[in-house]
Structure formats: structure tokens, C-alpha cells
């Protein structure tokens, strides 16, 4: 099941946006455009697999569609960016978690990464 950004529960949307901002802030390399991306929107999200499709937008209005495939839950570099040194134990727990968004919201400090939500 895919959930369109606009239909995401607001708390899930905030969690996802904050996580993406945190990953960017921590140096996660989204390839190409995202080094200087200014805003983004979530095109779709699969809560079971973590597949997340983003439209990234740079200050000069360039756009890039970024299909993570399994970005959130299984990409080691992404996990390092959002969990830090304890990424391995978090990925093990996350793989077993029924509600992955809830797990993420309970284990990541989301307050520091406000995002510009455009979706």
C-alpha cells in the first residue's frame, strides 16, 4: 500500500520530513541535486518496506525525483545519518517493529530539524 503525501497522517508526515532533514543535515548523500536541495515533497511512501519517493527541489528551481526503494529502514548510510553510532541495533529493532514510523518517532529527536513541507 502506498500512501500519498497529502494523505499521510500529519504526525507521520512530520516524522518523515524531519528524518529526511536530519539525514541531510548529517551528511547523507542523496546523489546529485540534494547537496544543495532547498525543499522537497513526498510523492509516495510505503510504510511496510520504507520505500519513499521524493521530489527534491533546489534553490534554482531544478527538480529531481529520488526513488529510495528501501531508503528508510535498510540503507546503512541513511541509518548512520539518523541513528548515529547505534545504527545497527536500531535497524535490527526496526526490522521487527510493526509500526516503523512510531518506532522512528520514539527513537529520533525530531525537534531540531524543521522542514519546509511542500507536499
Amino acid at each position: 500500500m502506498y500512501i500519498r503525501d497529502l494523505n499521510l497522517p500529519s504526525n507521520s508526515k512530520e516524522v518523515l520530513h524531519s528524518i529526511i532533514m536530519q539525514a541531510k543535515h548529517s551528511g547523507y548523500y542523496f546523489r546529485n541535486l540534494l547537496d544543495d536541495f532547498d525543499s522537497f515533497s513526498i510523492t509516495s511512501f510505503n510504510p511496510d518496506t520504507g520505500r519513499l519517493v521524493l521530489v527534491l527541489k533546489s534553490q534554482d528551481k531544478h527538480q529531481l525525483i529520488y526513488d529510495s526503494v528501501y531508503l528508510l529502514f535498510f540503507d546503512i548510510n541513511f541509518a548512520k545519518a539518523i541513528f548515529g553510532d547505534n545504527w545497527e541495533s536500531h535497524l535490527v529493532a526496526l526490522a521487527e517493529a510493526d509500526d516503523k514510523i512510531l518506532y522512528l518517532s520514539n527513537h529520533i529527536n525530531l525537534d531540531n530539524y524543521e522542514s519546509r513541507i511542500t507536499g
Partner: protein, 169 residues
């Protein structure tokens, strides 16, 4: 486990792998490397493969180790497999439930795979080249240690794979 012990374990595995790739002078690098990794990390399946030049969504293995022995090579499509997010991208770790996440991946089902770590391999101009994959019927533990080990072996393995593709594909 204390932090010091964890760091020490990471270093031991990476050091062992580094010694293997630096000093290897045999004539079956891929085969011996895959057997070495399977033994050191205690996983049932190891594969090293390259992206088919004529079809960049298919992988052809240069070695496939299953339960301690080298078996016949195979070609498979990346679609619907955990490798899809590895080739040309990043190292991925599926600690458990991988066969449930990829129901269309027949090999995962047939081999009863629960856990997966895959690491991308790149060519000399940083183009996607292939990957190295470790799979097991139970959780692959010490993923941080394994990831470090895969990083250590990647440079020589990329060179060897690039050479193989240029000469034989």
C-alpha cells in the same frame, strides 16, 4: 559487550579481510574470497556479481557460494530483489524478514533467507559495476563489523571485477 570490545571485534574482522585481499596471490580470487568471507562471517550464502552490460537490470554472478561450497553461477533480475537498492547505490542491511519483504524473489524463498547484507561495487569511473551479497537463514549479526569488512575488500574486488568484465564479457 563493552564499546572497547566491540571496536576490537570490528578491527579484527576488517584486518583479516585486509590481509586476505592484500596478500592473495592465487588464481581464483573471487572463489577464494567468497569462501573466506562465508567462513569468517559465518553466513550460508555469498555472491559476487556484475551488472550485465546489455541489460543494466540483471546481475551475472562470478562466484556463488552456498553452504561452504562454490556452486554454479546464475543470472538474475534486480527487480523485486533487495539488490535493487544496492547496485549503484549504498550498502543495505536487512536484519530479518527479508524473504517476506521481497515475495517475488524466488531465490530468497527457495533458500529460506532471513537476513541480507549487500554492498555495491563501482567501476574506475564510479559507474555501477556490480555487488557483493551475504545472505543467511538466520540474522547476520555484527553488521557494523561486516560492513567495515566489505569496505576493506571493495577496492581490490572492484579492480578484479572490472578486469573480469573487460576480458570475459
Amino acid at each position: 559487550m563493552s564499546h572497547e570490545l566491540q571496536v576490537e571485534k570490528i578491527d579484527i574482522l576488517a584486518d583479516d579481510c585486509l590481509r586476505f585481499v592484500e596478500h592473495y596471490d592465487g588464481d581464483d580470487y573471487f572463489g577464494d574470497l567468497a569462501l573466506f568471507i562465508a567462513d569468517k562471517i559465518n553466513v550460508s550464502f555469498v555472491l559476487i556479481g556484475y551488472l550485465l552490460p546489455e541489460n543494466n537490470h540483471k546481475i551475472r554472478t562470478v562466484v556463488l557460494v552456498a553452504k561452504g561450497a562454490i556452486v554454479d553461477n546464475m543470472t538474475y533480475s534486480l527487480y523485486g530483489t533487495p539488490c535493487e537498492n544496492v547496485v549503484g547505490r549504498n550498502c543495505c542491511y536487512f536484519p530479518s524478514n527479508v524473504k517476506k519483504l521481497f515475495p517475488d524473489d524466488k531465490e530468497l524463498q527457495d533458500l529460506n533467507i532471513e537476513s541480507y547484507i549487500g554492498s555495491p561495487l563501482f567501476g574506475e569511473s564510479k559507474q555501477p559495476l556490480g555487488l557483493i551479497v551475504l545472505m543467511n537463514e538466520t540474522i547476520i549479526k555484527n553488521a557494523a563489523s561486516v560492513e567495515k569488512a566489505l569496505q576493506v575488500i571493495s577496492t581490490r574486488t572492484e579492480r578484479a571485477l572490472q578486469k573480469y568484465v573487460q576480458e570475459f564479457v
